[in-house]
Amino acid sequence: MRARIAAAALVAALAGCASTAERDPRDPFEPLNRGIYRFNDTVDQAIAQPVARTYRRVVPGEIRDRVRNFFGNIGDFFIGVNNFLQGKFEDGVSDWARVAFNTTVGLFGIHDIASDMGYEKHNEDFGQTFGRWGAGPGPYLVLPLLGSSDLRDGIGTGIDIYADPLGEVRPYHLQYGLWALRFTQLRADLLDASRILEEASLDKYVFQRDAYLQRRRSLVYDGHPPREKDLDDKGADDDNDKKPR
């Protein structure tokens, strides 16, 4: 009960600091999102970043490559599923070929021999599949601990995590250990990017949000998104905006 009152107070406080600036139509929950963003940032600076830095300092690059490959291989199976769901059968077959080669010859995925064979790694998830099926992103959301998302991708991420093969691992303490290792590896890989974000932006929240929305849009269309009207005021190109694709 007390927790619920505290939560209500938190929401009210966050809503109270609704800034004077006009609300961005893509981000109707900005005050709440900013609150969660600050929370995430605090956790990141207090725990995730120090752990990731230590990991990167202590563990040799060669081993980190093996760890990245191992979790990458686990991800490839559902990347393939999502390619099939999006009708990209050739890519899906290629993803499953990656799993087949990397799990066997690549010793449980620690060696990415499939990339050397020409089976390129793809980036797919359920959020992208919904996007491909026509779902728009919906409002931008910052999820606790997970960070930047939107309504569509938030639902997608839920399914991604639920479907993840890591969830099958027993005993539980092994499973939790693997999740922790996976996030540490991921955070370590993003250390440079987050430092650049820090240096490049005037308002980190806005910069990260806009980058996330652009990035996801690009991923849904596999790098070839149709031109967006308001992102292109470059006079001469305006007639291109009217073309359907």
């Binding site: 961005d24 240096e199 990035r215």
Partner: protein, 213 residues
């Protein structure tokens, strides 16, 4: 025998000397991106000081090798969108300078994080008459999806110039637009200039021992 050969090479030299030097505007955009990228990466690989973290020297290198191929006033204009037209010439100049400083530092950070990834220079898909093209490069890394870097380039009288860079589908210029417009709405164009220069100066003094953590 030797005489004929040296005669021939002398003739060749004469012909070469009489040819007009290849001018910058004649270098095709994809060739330009490839040459500059490989040259910069090689210079960094050879430079011990840059590798041990000498940021000033890296910025110098970028200034000399990379910047001449960027059109910063076009980038600033695109990042500001409609506010650009309301700025005075003096404001435009200041904005361009500050934005340029910020971008160079960001670029230096990105380059400093570079560690021997391989590049895949994609063939240019454009007609010879095009004056606005996208040059695509992919950065390959083991166990991860390649990162596409797209350079939007425009043909000018002084050669091809980059006016936007897209990394992994994120346009740098578009990504600054909301940020810049928020600041302009709250404190005007002078506010944005002040904001940018404060940001730039805060990043200039990382050597100060008090620079937290």
């Amino acid at each position: 025998m030797t005489t004929t050969r040296s005669l021939a090479s002398a003739a060749l030299l004469a012909v070469l000397a009489s040819l007009p030097a290849v001018r910058a505007q004649d270098v095709p955009p994809d060739q330009l991106v490839k040459t500059v990228t490989l040259e910069v990466v090689e210079l960094i690989a050879k430079d011990k000081e840059i590798q041990s973290g000498n940021r000033a020297k890296l910025v110098q290198l970028i200034d000399a090798k990379v910047l001449p191929h960027f059109n910063f006033s076009a980038m600033t204009a695109l990042a500001l969108g409609q506010s650009w037209n309301r700025a005075t010439p003096e404001q435009k100049k200041r904005l361009t300078e500050e934005f340029r400083t910020l971008l160079v530092r960001t670029y230096a950070s990105a380059l400093a994080a570079y560690s021997e990834q391989k590049f895949d220079f994609r063939p240019l898909r454009a007609k010879p008459t095009d004056t606005d093209v996208t040059v695509q490069v992919r950065v390959l890394q083991a166990g991860a999806q390649p990162v596409p870097i797209d350079y939007s380039m425009e043909k000018t009288s002084s050669g091809w110039k980059v006016y936007d860079v897209m990394v992994g589908g994120v346009s740098l210029v578009a990504n600054y637009r909301t940020e810049f417009n928020n600041v302009v709405r709250e404190s005007g164009i002078d506010g944005l200039i002040k904001n940018l220069s404060t940001k730039n100066r805060s990043l200039e003094a990382p050597a100060a021992p008090a620079a937290k953590k």
